[in-house]
């Protein structure tokens, strides 16, 4: 007679899987990828492909030759997310093609696999890779192509310009993008961060599919907005710009939208409880604006999220879910 299976309850499963979650995040990144290709041409596509391929390849090599055992299914999509986010965080120039491959090695090798693979890493792997590239290749990482200057070409000498945050830091207001450019992302910057609209479409999809909750993005963006409003009111806004518009500029320019919706919400490196997530988001927002206004870098999103990643275990300890009958 055939033997019956015996195991503890429950005997049914929700059919939810890590793979499904990861591919949903990848799908949510597609609008921003399309915008990047539209604005920055085939360079953007090439950088993305190299970045994703390098991440998947390095993870596979490390599992096969160093760890000698698979940590996750290589096609579960998590390495693809890291690859896409890494590409989204660099300027879409052709010399980035080889730099991003090095970034991928650091992101996957040091950021993720050295801790034991998916789920074990304390820091967001894509940000580890990005910060490594920013420090190691400061010139290439801050040479920004201007959108649509040479769309659909592989030209090595695409027109470059400063990012709006760079302009703001230097105190210039006249070269800043128009309001409509802020919304659709028609400005210089890392290829995936420019279009708030595309990022929001992806984020709304993730909210609907319950991959992320609203807590981190709202707390992050809300805090950054409020703090910029205060800074603007205290005279830190460029001449001729009122505090409200300055705060809007602050959250739409640079990486806050991408960071708040896709990187701070990385489930592995963010707090578990809702209250913890709010604290985490507020921390990210505060640190970002502090670094932008008083740090030496014009942009602070990466550092802010990495710093908050570091305190996540502490937040998990202090901010527990609400218990029944408590």
């Amino acid at each position: 007679m055939k033997l019956l299976n015996v195991s503890g309850s429950p005997h049914v499963h929700s059919d939810e899987s890590t793979k499904k979650i990861m591919w949903r995040v990848n799908l949510a990144l597609v609008p921003a990828l399309l915008v990047a290709i539209a604005y920055f041409g085939l360079n953007a596509l090439l950088v993305s492909i190299v970045s994703v391929a390098a991440c998947v390849l390095f993870q596979w090599l490390i599992e096969k030759f160093i760890m000698k055992q698979p940590t996750t299914n290589i096609w579960d999509g998590s390495a693809v997310i890291t690859g896409l986010l890494l590409a989204f965080n660099v300027p879409a120039t052709c010399e980035m093609v080889w730099i991003v491959a090095i970034g991928a090695l650091v992101a996957i090798g040091i950021g993720k696999m050295s801790f034991g693979g998916l789920g074990k890493n304390p820091f967001n792997p894509a940000l580890v890779g990005r910060v490594f590239m920013l420090i190691s290749f400061p010139v290439q990482m801050t040479t920004w192509p201007v959108p649509a200057a040479k769309a659909f070409s592989f030209s090595a000498d695409a027109v470059t310009g400063a990012t709006p945050l760079g302009i703001l830091k230097e105190g210039g207001a006249e070269a800043l993008p128009q309001a409509w450019e802020l919304i659709v992302g028609h400005m210089g910057g890392s290829m995936g961060e420019v279009s708030a609209l595309a990022i929001l479409i992806g984020a709304i999809y993730l909210l609907i599919r319950k991959v992320i909750t609203w807590h981190i993005p709202v707390a992050f963006i809300g805090t950054a907005f409020l703090m910029s409003l205060i800074c603007g009111a205290c005279g830190m806004a460029p001449e001729g710009v009122n505090a409200g518009y300055y705060a809007v500029q602050q959250i739409l320019m640079g990486g806050i939208m991408l960071g708040a919706c896709f990187m701070a919400t990385d489930m592995v490196t963010s707090p578990m409880s809702k209250s913890g997530q709010l604290i985490f988001g507020v921390g990210c927002g505060l640190l970002t604006i502090i670094i932008r206004n008083w740090g030496s870098y014009p942009e602070g999103v990466s550092f802010a999220i990495l710093l908050m990643n570091a305190v996540t275990p502490l937040i998990n300890r202090g901010f527990k879910p609400k218990r029944f009958a408590k």
Binding site: K2, G8, S9, S17, T72, F324, K326
Partner: protein
Amino acid sequence: MGGVHPEENKISTNAVIEKFPVPAQMTVLMNQHLGAPATPIVAKGDKVKVGQLIGEAQAFMCANVHSPVSGTVKDITAVKDPFGMMKPAIVIDVEGDEWMETIDRTPDIKRECNLDSKEVIAKLKEMGIVGLGGATFPAHIKYAVPEGKKAEYLIINAVECEPYLTSDHRVMLEHAEEICIGIDILRGALNVPHAYIGIENNKPEPIAHMQKVAAQFGGRLIVEPLKVKYPQGAEKQLINAITGRCVPSGKLPIDVGCVVSNVGTTFAVYEAIQKNKPLIENILTVTGKKLPSQHNYQVRIGTTYSDIIKHSIGELPATTGKVISGGPMMGKAMCNLDAPTVKGASSVLVIDEGEAVRAQESNCIRCGKCMMACPMGLEPYLFSALVRNDRFEEAGANNILDCIECGCCFFSCPANKPLLDEIRLGKNKMRAILAAKKK
């Protein structure tokens, strides 16, 4: 808070309750309830009748066991229960179907009951009534409210939030009047003004029918339709949904003035009090997606699972992976189908191979779905990590003992981590630590 929405799969809903034929031999276990086993009071070769007391409750936490058949006691022995544990039992060779004369077998419904609280409780004890919701807690202990505590609410659990199970659903449609009389008797015994019957909103038929019947009881019985969410029928969650009160950690429902009974139990209470019939039969669902037919049976307690399967569907489908006693969320997988049913048995659930095997486990991605699903507001992911590292006391400090083992965490885990297995291990270790500390 928390909770999940598993597929309902109530495919046996329309199967009318059938009387299951009496098998040729019966094995009656002596511990069919929470607590100590009953003591056999018959000897080998004795003739017994249906409803005759054969196992007596001698310990405090114990319940009487009655013969579900008439015939000759063949053996007093120990047999394997459905889960492979040896249990004391009485084996009876069935001869005819001769009932005790005291049992009223007429189909008439008897409405009047003049017993007072003490007499009702004595009767519950005599008839071996236990809770049929799963825990099989002896009813005479539950309804004897301890000194210094006061019952304010009687809550009847007719939620049946477990997928697949339909015995409560059927019993409410077919025996609503008996149930309501049973509830009213219990309400009187507790001396509370109202009894609340909680039914999940996905059962509109039983809700409407019970409301119609309950209306004849002068407003004493109130049907409460509840939101569809597993585990709505868990005791603490049900009390909270109906009264708004929260049973604190480590406390019992009576500490917040509540007594909760399953709807199936109230039918048994009616039969015991009004008809003098001991708990010798219960309603059992036979269901599964791949079964040729779905059934709800009234079965003599002690019929073997293999007899039930043989009579209802012939044999198990070739692709059967698991046979479960109870629902898919909290039921137990059986390894010995030749074992007899017991008082708390509510179903034979046949799960196909494809669903019976757990998917490969992978790393926790800290998505927090287990936490969001936990109806007790606990952190299953944390227990998993602590238990794996033998840090049981830390798990205890994070209230691992509050876990009600509903299975929502494991159900919703995308990494397929066996969270509830680990939590059960942690709870057992923690209880052992606490017991050792007391000494």
